[in-house]
Amino acid sequence: MIFDWKFAWQIAPTLGEALVVTVQATVLGMLIAMSLGLALAVARRSRSRLVSWPIALFIEFTRSTPLLVQIYFLFYVLPAAGVRFSPLATGIVALGVHYSAYCSEVYRAGIEGIPKGQWEAATALNLSRWHLWRDIVVPQAIPPVVPALGNYLVAMFKDTPLLSAITVLEVLQTAKIIGSETFRYVEPLTITGALFLVLSLGSATLIRRVEKWLKVRGA
Protein backbone atom coordinates (compact mmCIF):
# COMPACT_ATOMS: atom_id res chain seq x y z
CA MET A 1 0.00 0.00 0.00
CA ILE A 2 1.42 3.35 -0.98
CA PHE A 3 0.55 6.98 -0.44
CA ASP A 4 -2.69 7.86 -2.29
CA TRP A 5 -2.46 11.49 -3.38
CA LYS A 6 -6.09 11.70 -4.46
CA PHE A 7 -7.28 10.61 -1.03
CA ALA A 8 -4.76 12.96 0.56
CA TRP A 9 -6.18 15.98 -1.33
CA GLN A 10 -9.67 14.86 -0.38
CA ILE A 11 -8.97 14.93 3.37
CA ALA A 12 -6.64 17.93 3.36
CA PRO A 13 -9.43 20.55 3.89
CA THR A 14 -10.79 18.67 6.92
CA LEU A 15 -7.35 18.53 8.47
CA GLY A 16 -6.82 22.19 7.63
CA GLU A 17 -9.96 23.09 9.56
CA ALA A 18 -8.75 21.07 12.52
CA LEU A 19 -5.44 22.91 12.35
CA VAL A 20 -7.34 26.09 13.23
CA VAL A 21 -8.27 24.51 16.57
CA THR A 22 -4.65 23.50 17.12
CA VAL A 23 -3.39 27.02 16.45
CA GLN A 24 -6.13 28.50 18.61
CA ALA A 25 -5.14 26.23 21.52
CA THR A 26 -1.48 27.18 21.05
CA VAL A 27 -2.05 30.93 20.97
CA LEU A 28 -4.48 31.05 23.90
CA GLY A 29 -2.37 28.56 25.88
CA MET A 30 0.72 30.70 25.32
CA LEU A 31 -1.10 33.84 26.48
CA ILE A 32 -1.92 32.09 29.76
CA ALA A 33 1.61 30.68 30.04
CA MET A 34 3.28 34.05 29.47
CA SER A 35 1.14 36.00 31.93
CA LEU A 36 0.95 33.31 34.63
CA GLY A 37 4.66 32.62 34.11
CA LEU A 38 5.55 36.24 34.78
CA ALA A 39 3.41 36.26 37.92
CA LEU A 40 5.14 33.07 39.11
CA ALA A 41 8.59 34.48 38.38
CA VAL A 42 7.87 37.64 40.37
CA ALA A 43 6.21 35.72 43.23
CA ARG A 44 9.16 33.33 43.42
CA ARG A 45 11.40 36.30 44.20
CA SER A 46 9.16 37.37 47.06
CA ARG A 47 10.97 38.21 50.28
CA SER A 48 8.54 36.09 52.25
CA ARG A 49 9.41 32.39 52.25
CA LEU A 50 5.76 31.68 52.85
CA VAL A 51 5.22 32.83 49.26
CA SER A 52 8.47 31.91 47.51
CA TRP A 53 8.73 28.29 48.70
CA PRO A 54 5.25 27.08 47.69
CA ILE A 55 5.69 28.84 44.35
CA ALA A 56 9.07 27.17 43.79
CA LEU A 57 7.55 23.78 44.67
CA PHE A 58 4.64 24.39 42.30
CA ILE A 59 7.03 25.26 39.45
CA GLU A 60 9.21 22.19 40.05
CA PHE A 61 6.22 19.90 40.40
CA THR A 62 4.56 21.19 37.25
CA ARG A 63 7.76 20.90 35.26
CA SER A 64 8.57 17.36 36.28
CA THR A 65 5.20 15.66 35.89
CA PRO A 66 3.66 14.62 32.56
CA LEU A 67 1.46 17.11 30.74
CA LEU A 68 -0.92 14.30 29.76
CA VAL A 69 -1.61 13.43 33.40
CA GLN A 70 -2.09 17.11 34.21
CA ILE A 71 -4.60 17.34 31.36
CA TYR A 72 -6.52 14.33 32.73
CA PHE A 73 -6.36 15.79 36.22
CA LEU A 74 -7.97 19.06 35.14
CA PHE A 75 -10.40 17.29 32.82
CA TYR A 76 -11.79 15.08 35.60
CA VAL A 77 -11.24 17.24 38.66
CA LEU A 78 -12.51 20.63 37.41
CA PRO A 79 -16.09 19.39 36.84
CA ALA A 80 -16.04 17.74 40.26
CA ALA A 81 -15.07 21.12 41.69
CA GLY A 82 -18.08 22.68 39.95
CA VAL A 83 -16.15 24.34 37.09
CA ARG A 84 -17.77 23.44 33.78
CA PHE A 85 -15.29 23.99 30.95
CA SER A 86 -15.42 22.58 27.44
CA PRO A 87 -12.68 20.01 26.70
CA LEU A 88 -10.91 22.59 24.53
CA ALA A 89 -10.96 25.21 27.31
CA THR A 90 -9.71 22.63 29.82
CA GLY A 91 -6.91 21.69 27.44
CA ILE A 92 -5.92 25.31 26.92
CA VAL A 93 -5.77 25.88 30.68
CA ALA A 94 -3.66 22.72 31.12
CA LEU A 95 -1.22 23.77 28.38
CA GLY A 96 -1.05 27.28 29.81
CA VAL A 97 -0.38 26.17 33.37
CA HIS A 98 2.19 23.55 32.33
CA TYR A 99 4.17 25.96 30.21
CA SER A 100 3.82 28.82 32.71
CA ALA A 101 6.26 26.86 34.87
CA TYR A 102 8.77 26.81 32.00
CA CYS A 103 8.13 30.46 31.13
CA SER A 104 8.68 31.50 34.74
CA GLU A 105 12.20 30.01 34.56
CA VAL A 106 12.81 31.96 31.34
CA TYR A 107 11.67 35.21 32.96
CA ARG A 108 13.83 34.40 35.96
CA ALA A 109 16.89 34.25 33.72
CA GLY A 110 15.86 37.60 32.22
CA ILE A 111 15.34 39.18 35.64
CA GLU A 112 18.64 37.88 36.97
CA GLY A 113 20.38 39.27 33.91
CA ILE A 114 19.53 42.83 34.89
CA PRO A 115 22.52 44.66 36.41
CA LYS A 116 22.30 45.20 40.16
CA GLY A 117 22.78 48.93 39.70
CA GLN A 118 19.32 49.14 38.18
CA TRP A 119 17.72 47.86 41.39
CA GLU A 120 19.89 50.16 43.47
CA ALA A 121 19.08 53.15 41.28
CA ALA A 122 15.37 52.38 41.63
CA THR A 123 15.76 52.28 45.40
CA ALA A 124 17.75 55.51 45.34
CA LEU A 125 14.98 57.16 43.33
CA ASN A 126 12.51 55.93 45.94
CA LEU A 127 10.39 54.05 43.42
CA SER A 128 7.64 51.83 44.81
CA ARG A 129 7.84 48.04 44.26
CA TRP A 130 5.11 48.34 41.66
CA HIS A 131 6.99 50.99 39.68
CA LEU A 132 10.26 49.12 40.08
CA TRP A 133 8.77 46.02 38.45
CA ARG A 134 6.58 47.74 35.87
CA ASP A 135 8.94 50.47 34.67
CA ILE A 136 12.45 49.17 35.38
CA VAL A 137 12.65 45.39 35.64
CA VAL A 138 10.04 43.96 33.29
CA PRO A 139 10.81 46.20 30.27
CA GLN A 140 14.47 45.19 30.48
CA ALA A 141 13.97 41.55 31.41
CA ILE A 142 11.61 40.54 28.61
CA PRO A 143 13.27 41.50 25.27
CA PRO A 144 16.38 39.30 25.78
CA VAL A 145 14.25 36.25 26.60
CA VAL A 146 11.80 36.57 23.70
CA PRO A 147 13.63 33.88 21.66
CA ALA A 148 13.49 31.45 24.59
CA LEU A 149 9.77 32.13 24.97
CA GLY A 150 9.42 31.52 21.23
CA ASN A 151 11.02 28.10 21.62
CA TYR A 152 8.42 27.22 24.24
CA LEU A 153 5.69 28.44 21.89
CA VAL A 154 6.90 25.87 19.34
CA ALA A 155 7.17 23.21 22.06
CA MET A 156 3.61 23.93 23.16
CA PHE A 157 2.41 23.75 19.57
CA LYS A 158 3.91 20.27 19.34
CA ASP A 159 2.17 19.27 22.58
CA THR A 160 -1.33 20.24 21.42
CA PRO A 161 -2.01 16.73 20.02
CA LEU A 162 -2.22 15.60 23.64
CA LEU A 163 -5.59 17.33 23.78
CA SER A 164 -6.90 14.53 21.55
CA ALA A 165 -6.87 12.39 24.72
CA ILE A 166 -9.72 14.50 26.11
CA THR A 167 -11.73 14.42 22.85
CA VAL A 168 -10.68 17.84 21.50
CA LEU A 169 -11.04 17.78 17.71
CA GLU A 170 -7.58 19.08 16.84
CA VAL A 171 -5.47 17.80 13.95
CA LEU A 172 -4.37 14.47 15.40
CA GLN A 173 -7.82 13.52 16.67
CA THR A 174 -9.31 14.42 13.27
CA ALA A 175 -6.65 12.35 11.52
CA LYS A 176 -7.46 9.39 13.78
CA ILE A 177 -11.17 9.70 13.09
CA ILE A 178 -10.52 9.79 9.33
CA GLY A 179 -8.31 6.74 9.80
CA SER A 180 -10.89 4.74 11.71
CA GLU A 181 -13.66 5.65 9.25
CA THR A 182 -11.75 4.81 6.07
CA PHE A 183 -9.18 2.31 7.38
CA ARG A 184 -6.51 4.45 5.79
CA TYR A 185 -4.04 5.74 8.34
CA VAL A 186 -1.10 6.42 6.04
CA GLU A 187 -2.38 9.65 4.48
CA PRO A 188 -4.03 11.42 7.45
CA LEU A 189 -1.22 10.69 9.90
CA THR A 190 1.51 11.52 7.39
CA ILE A 191 -0.17 14.83 6.50
CA THR A 192 -0.50 15.60 10.21
CA GLY A 193 3.21 14.98 10.71
CA ALA A 194 4.07 17.11 7.68
CA LEU A 195 1.88 19.98 8.93
CA PHE A 196 3.69 20.00 12.25
CA LEU A 197 7.08 19.79 10.57
CA VAL A 198 6.42 22.70 8.22
CA LEU A 199 4.86 24.92 10.86
CA SER A 200 7.47 24.32 13.55
CA LEU A 201 10.43 24.67 11.18
CA GLY A 202 8.79 27.84 9.85
CA SER A 203 8.33 29.30 13.32
CA ALA A 204 11.87 28.33 14.29
CA THR A 205 13.15 30.39 11.36
CA LEU A 206 10.90 33.26 12.41
CA ILE A 207 12.26 33.11 15.97
CA ARG A 208 15.83 33.29 14.67
CA ARG A 209 14.87 36.41 12.69
CA VAL A 210 13.35 38.02 15.78
CA GLU A 211 16.48 37.10 17.74
CA LYS A 212 18.68 38.87 15.19
CA TRP A 213 16.36 41.86 15.07
CA LEU A 214 16.47 42.16 18.86
CA LYS A 215 20.26 42.02 18.80
CA VAL A 216 20.41 44.78 16.19
CA ARG A 217 18.13 46.88 18.37
CA GLY A 218 20.63 46.37 21.17
CA ALA A 219 18.31 44.56 23.53
Partner: protein, 220 residues
Protein backbone atom coordinates in the same frame (compact mmCIF):
# COMPACT_ATOMS: atom_id res chain seq x y z
CA UNK B 1 -4.25 -0.14 53.87
CA UNK B 2 -6.34 2.94 54.44
CA UNK B 3 -7.28 5.41 51.73
CA UNK B 4 -5.55 6.80 49.75
CA UNK B 5 -2.62 4.41 50.30
CA UNK B 6 -4.59 1.34 49.20
CA UNK B 7 -4.16 2.71 45.67
CA UNK B 8 -0.39 2.30 45.78
CA UNK B 9 -0.07 -1.46 45.07
CA UNK B 10 -2.06 -1.42 41.80
CA UNK B 11 -0.28 1.76 40.68
CA UNK B 12 3.15 0.27 41.35
CA UNK B 13 2.52 -2.27 38.58
CA UNK B 14 2.04 0.61 36.15
CA UNK B 15 5.05 2.44 37.52
CA UNK B 16 7.19 -0.62 36.77
CA UNK B 17 6.11 -0.55 33.10
CA UNK B 18 6.74 3.21 32.98
CA UNK B 19 10.26 2.73 34.34
CA UNK B 20 11.02 -0.04 31.83
CA UNK B 21 9.94 2.21 28.95
CA UNK B 22 11.86 5.18 30.33
CA UNK B 23 15.07 3.17 30.69
CA UNK B 24 14.66 1.54 27.27
CA UNK B 25 13.97 4.89 25.63
CA UNK B 26 16.93 6.51 27.40
CA UNK B 27 19.24 3.80 26.03
CA UNK B 28 17.89 4.22 22.48
CA UNK B 29 18.18 8.00 22.88
CA UNK B 30 21.79 7.83 24.05
CA UNK B 31 22.77 5.73 21.03
CA UNK B 32 20.82 7.85 18.56
CA UNK B 33 22.10 11.12 20.06
CA UNK B 34 25.72 10.01 19.86
CA UNK B 35 25.38 8.74 16.27
CA UNK B 36 23.44 11.76 14.99
CA UNK B 37 25.50 14.27 16.97
CA UNK B 38 28.76 12.87 15.56
CA UNK B 39 27.12 12.46 12.16
CA UNK B 40 26.19 16.13 12.01
CA UNK B 41 29.87 17.02 12.53
CA UNK B 42 31.06 14.62 9.84
CA UNK B 43 32.99 16.10 6.89
CA UNK B 44 31.06 13.78 4.54
CA UNK B 45 27.71 14.97 3.19
CA UNK B 46 26.46 11.40 2.88
CA UNK B 47 26.68 11.11 6.66
CA UNK B 48 25.85 14.69 7.60
CA UNK B 49 22.59 15.02 5.67
CA UNK B 50 20.81 11.93 7.04
CA UNK B 51 21.83 13.02 10.54
CA UNK B 52 20.42 16.51 9.97
CA UNK B 53 17.23 15.10 8.42
CA UNK B 54 16.70 12.77 11.40
CA UNK B 55 17.25 15.59 13.90
CA UNK B 56 14.94 18.06 12.12
CA UNK B 57 12.12 15.59 11.51
CA UNK B 58 12.03 14.28 15.07
CA UNK B 59 12.41 17.72 16.63
CA UNK B 60 9.99 19.35 14.21
CA UNK B 61 7.01 17.06 14.73
CA UNK B 62 4.99 16.14 17.77
CA UNK B 63 6.04 13.12 19.86
CA UNK B 64 2.47 11.85 19.96
CA UNK B 65 2.11 12.13 16.18
CA UNK B 66 5.38 10.20 15.78
CA UNK B 67 4.08 7.53 18.14
CA UNK B 68 0.82 7.13 16.22
CA UNK B 69 2.67 7.14 12.93
CA UNK B 70 4.96 4.30 14.02
CA UNK B 71 2.09 2.36 15.56
CA UNK B 72 -0.65 2.87 12.93
CA UNK B 73 1.15 3.66 9.65
CA UNK B 74 4.19 1.39 9.65
CA UNK B 75 2.03 -1.79 9.58
CA UNK B 76 0.73 -0.63 6.18
CA UNK B 77 4.32 -0.76 4.95
CA UNK B 78 4.64 -4.28 6.31
CA UNK B 79 6.45 -3.35 9.50
CA UNK B 80 4.37 -4.41 12.47
CA UNK B 81 5.77 -3.19 15.81
CA UNK B 82 4.38 -4.22 19.17
CA UNK B 83 3.07 -1.30 21.22
CA UNK B 84 5.99 -1.69 23.61
CA UNK B 85 8.61 -1.65 20.83
CA UNK B 86 6.97 1.31 19.11
CA UNK B 87 6.80 3.19 22.42
CA UNK B 88 10.44 2.64 23.37
CA UNK B 89 11.67 3.28 19.82
CA UNK B 90 9.72 6.50 19.25
CA UNK B 91 10.39 8.02 22.66
CA UNK B 92 14.06 7.09 22.27
CA UNK B 93 14.37 8.54 18.77
CA UNK B 94 12.47 11.67 19.81
CA UNK B 95 14.75 12.38 22.77
CA UNK B 96 17.76 11.30 20.73
CA UNK B 97 17.12 14.11 18.24
CA UNK B 98 17.29 16.69 21.03
CA UNK B 99 20.26 14.86 22.52
CA UNK B 100 22.14 14.99 19.22
CA UNK B 101 22.31 18.78 19.52
CA UNK B 102 23.63 18.37 23.07
CA UNK B 103 26.33 15.97 21.85
CA UNK B 104 27.28 18.27 18.98
CA UNK B 105 27.47 21.31 21.25
CA UNK B 106 29.55 19.50 23.86
CA UNK B 107 32.00 18.20 21.27
CA UNK B 108 32.39 21.63 19.70
CA UNK B 109 33.02 23.11 23.15
CA UNK B 110 36.17 21.02 23.61
CA UNK B 111 39.06 23.45 22.97
CA UNK B 112 40.55 22.98 19.47
CA UNK B 113 44.02 22.82 21.02
CA UNK B 114 43.11 19.37 22.31
CA UNK B 115 42.58 18.04 18.79
CA UNK B 116 45.73 19.79 17.56
CA UNK B 117 47.74 18.24 20.36
CA UNK B 118 46.29 14.83 19.53
CA UNK B 119 47.26 15.32 15.88
CA UNK B 120 50.76 16.35 16.95
CA UNK B 121 50.98 13.10 18.91
CA UNK B 122 49.86 11.39 15.68
CA UNK B 123 46.71 9.86 17.11
CA UNK B 124 44.22 8.70 14.48
CA UNK B 125 40.91 10.65 14.19
CA UNK B 126 39.08 7.72 15.80
CA UNK B 127 41.55 7.63 18.70
CA UNK B 128 41.31 11.40 19.11
CA UNK B 129 37.53 11.22 19.33
CA UNK B 130 37.47 8.23 21.63
CA UNK B 131 40.32 9.06 24.02
CA UNK B 132 40.60 12.84 23.93
CA UNK B 133 37.41 14.57 22.83
CA UNK B 134 34.56 12.38 24.09
CA UNK B 135 35.83 11.94 27.69
CA UNK B 136 35.96 15.74 28.03
CA UNK B 137 32.71 16.35 26.15
CA UNK B 138 30.78 13.90 28.35
CA UNK B 139 31.20 16.19 31.35
CA UNK B 140 29.43 18.99 29.48
CA UNK B 141 26.74 16.60 28.22
CA UNK B 142 25.58 15.38 31.61
CA UNK B 143 23.51 18.31 32.91
CA UNK B 144 21.40 18.64 29.73
CA UNK B 145 21.20 14.84 29.54
CA UNK B 146 19.60 14.82 32.99
CA UNK B 147 16.96 17.28 31.79
CA UNK B 148 16.31 15.17 28.70
CA UNK B 149 15.88 12.09 30.89
CA UNK B 150 13.16 13.86 32.84
CA UNK B 151 11.54 14.87 29.54
CA UNK B 152 11.62 11.21 28.49
CA UNK B 153 10.04 10.13 31.77
CA UNK B 154 7.25 12.65 31.23
CA UNK B 155 6.80 11.55 27.62
CA UNK B 156 6.30 7.92 28.68
CA UNK B 157 2.76 8.93 29.69
CA UNK B 158 1.99 9.16 25.95
CA UNK B 159 2.32 5.39 25.48
CA UNK B 160 -0.87 4.94 27.50
CA UNK B 161 -2.62 6.17 24.33
CA UNK B 162 -1.37 3.15 22.36
CA UNK B 163 -2.72 0.71 24.96
CA UNK B 164 0.43 0.13 27.01
CA UNK B 165 -0.47 -0.42 30.67
CA UNK B 166 1.90 2.17 32.10
CA UNK B 167 1.26 4.30 35.19
CA UNK B 168 -1.09 6.68 33.34
CA UNK B 169 -3.06 3.82 31.77
CA UNK B 170 -3.47 2.05 35.12
CA UNK B 171 -4.65 5.34 36.61
CA UNK B 172 -7.38 5.54 33.97
CA UNK B 173 -8.49 1.96 34.66
CA UNK B 174 -8.55 2.55 38.42
CA UNK B 175 -10.53 5.74 37.86
CA UNK B 176 -13.15 3.87 35.87
CA UNK B 177 -13.34 1.19 38.58
CA UNK B 178 -13.36 3.31 41.72
CA UNK B 179 -14.23 6.88 40.60
CA UNK B 180 -11.72 8.17 43.19
CA UNK B 181 -10.35 10.53 40.55
CA UNK B 182 -8.65 13.17 42.69
CA UNK B 183 -6.85 10.66 44.89
CA UNK B 184 -5.66 8.54 41.97
CA UNK B 185 -4.31 11.35 39.84
CA UNK B 186 -2.74 13.16 42.79
CA UNK B 187 -0.98 9.92 43.71
CA UNK B 188 0.16 9.38 40.12
CA UNK B 189 1.51 12.93 39.81
CA UNK B 190 3.45 12.48 43.05
CA UNK B 191 4.90 9.20 41.78
CA UNK B 192 6.15 10.82 38.58
CA UNK B 193 7.52 13.71 40.61
CA UNK B 194 9.45 11.38 42.91
CA UNK B 195 11.00 9.49 39.99
CA UNK B 196 11.99 12.81 38.39
CA UNK B 197 13.53 13.87 41.69
CA UNK B 198 15.46 10.59 41.81
CA UNK B 199 16.81 11.27 38.31
CA UNK B 200 17.86 14.80 39.28
CA UNK B 201 19.67 13.62 42.41
CA UNK B 202 21.46 10.73 40.71
CA UNK B 203 22.54 12.91 37.80
CA UNK B 204 24.05 15.38 40.30
CA UNK B 205 26.03 12.57 41.89
CA UNK B 206 27.16 11.31 38.51
CA UNK B 207 28.23 14.80 37.43
CA UNK B 208 30.34 15.15 40.55
CA UNK B 209 31.94 11.78 39.94
CA UNK B 210 32.72 12.34 36.27
CA UNK B 211 34.10 15.86 36.68
CA UNK B 212 36.32 14.67 39.55
CA UNK B 213 39.20 13.72 37.26
CA UNK B 214 39.47 17.16 35.69
CA UNK B 215 42.03 19.42 37.30
CA UNK B 216 40.07 22.60 36.55
CA UNK B 217 36.66 23.80 35.42
CA UNK B 218 37.63 22.70 31.94
CA UNK B 219 35.08 23.21 29.23
CA UNK B 220 32.14 24.28 31.30
Amino acid sequence: MSAPFDLIPPLLGGLWVTLQIAVGAALVAAGAALLAGLGKLSPYRAIRWPAVAYIEVFRGTSALVQLFWFYFVLPFFGLELSAMTAGILVLGLNTGAYGAEVVRGAIQAVPPGQCEAAAALSLSPAQTMQRIVLPQAVVAMLPPAGNLMIETLKNTALVSLITITDLTFIAQILRADTLRTEEIFTMVLIMYFLVALLITVSMRLLERKVSGGLDHGGIR
